[in-house]
Symmetry: C2
Subunit: 206 residues, 2 copies
Amino acid sequence: MQIAFLLYPGFTALDAIGPFDTLSRLPGAETVLVAERPGPVRNESDTLGLVAEAALTEVTRPDIVVVPGGADTSGVAKPGAVQEWLRAVDATSTWTTSVCTGSLILGAAGLLKGRRATSHWLALETLASFGAEPTGERVVIDGKYVTAAGVSSGIDMGLTLLGRIAGDRTAQSVQLLIEYDPQPPYDAGSPEKAPADIVAEWRATM
Amino acid sequence: MQIAFLLYPGFTALDAIGPFDTLSRLPGAETVLVAERPGPVRNESDTLGLVAEAALTEVTRPDIVVVPGGADTSGVAKPGAVQEWLRAVDATSTWTTSVCTGSLILGAAGLLKGRRATSHWLALETLASFGAEPTGERVVIDGKYVTAAGVSSGIDMGLTLLGRIAGDRTAQSVQLLIEYDPQPPYDAGSPEKAPADIVAEWRATM
């Protein structure tokens, strides 16, 4: 079981690491961080580098593909090597997944047509332009396509997928190991729950 | 405001990235990933490399210090450059923080003596050997020392600290941006909530 995490300049670190530190604990799984070229890949704020171990051309048949989002995905949501790679590996993947605006990248590759899918709340409606059906749930499974909402939702996605693949017990064991017993100090994690003026401010930045 | 994230061979990626992708969104903050030597630092399962931008000697007065945990912290919890650096930067830091077994590293440096502190649930009692008072809360603040429980708790810690530093509104805004509205598919994130046999299995590995 090979799990490929796509990296590209401008990705959000937590989008990748949430699924990584859950899915990588699947017994027998092999992970690979993959990018157009091996080496450090910078995040969206250019403040962090995560090392891609392999080039796209070296990862041809991953069982699971994980596509993190980023503040600006336009660079990889246009025709090019990443889009071609996504279509190629999707042809044989067991699960094709995304976190946050990663779903826009999958959408641009034509992989979410007619599928229920989610994204970061600020990008949710954009999914429709790729023929997907935007769904405001935190983790959406439609066939082999698993999309998660913004940034931190990749942890919920990882545990959900672990349960599907290896059973509840394995997923619960990983949840306990990463002590995922969330206790946010505020209840502002969705546009429905956050103060309206904060929601409006973020919408205005788009 | 400089926020230094300590990296060392064997760290847990999510321990570092949870606080990173919350605290780094503090307006005006500068982050630095720091290790004994600059360059890629491998995680606990040797499956991922995160790039340290600076050597310990280059980061002398961070305002906030974040120490992630790892499955085996013995290498950095013994006398050496990391321990000396921690004591030095703690002398002038505004906040000294840890996630997971990062508190054992702070404890070994003598920084948690007489302090209420927490750690990964499997390591909690070990804190007492450093003169700390183990506390099973998810985020513990005692003076300028902020310790968080296992792995995923670094997100709660980051938001809590953001609130202390910049006010509730900034913390809520970041919570909304990272869409931290957790919906774990199971309720097994603490030893009190997980199935007893899974808890026993993890305890047996220690």
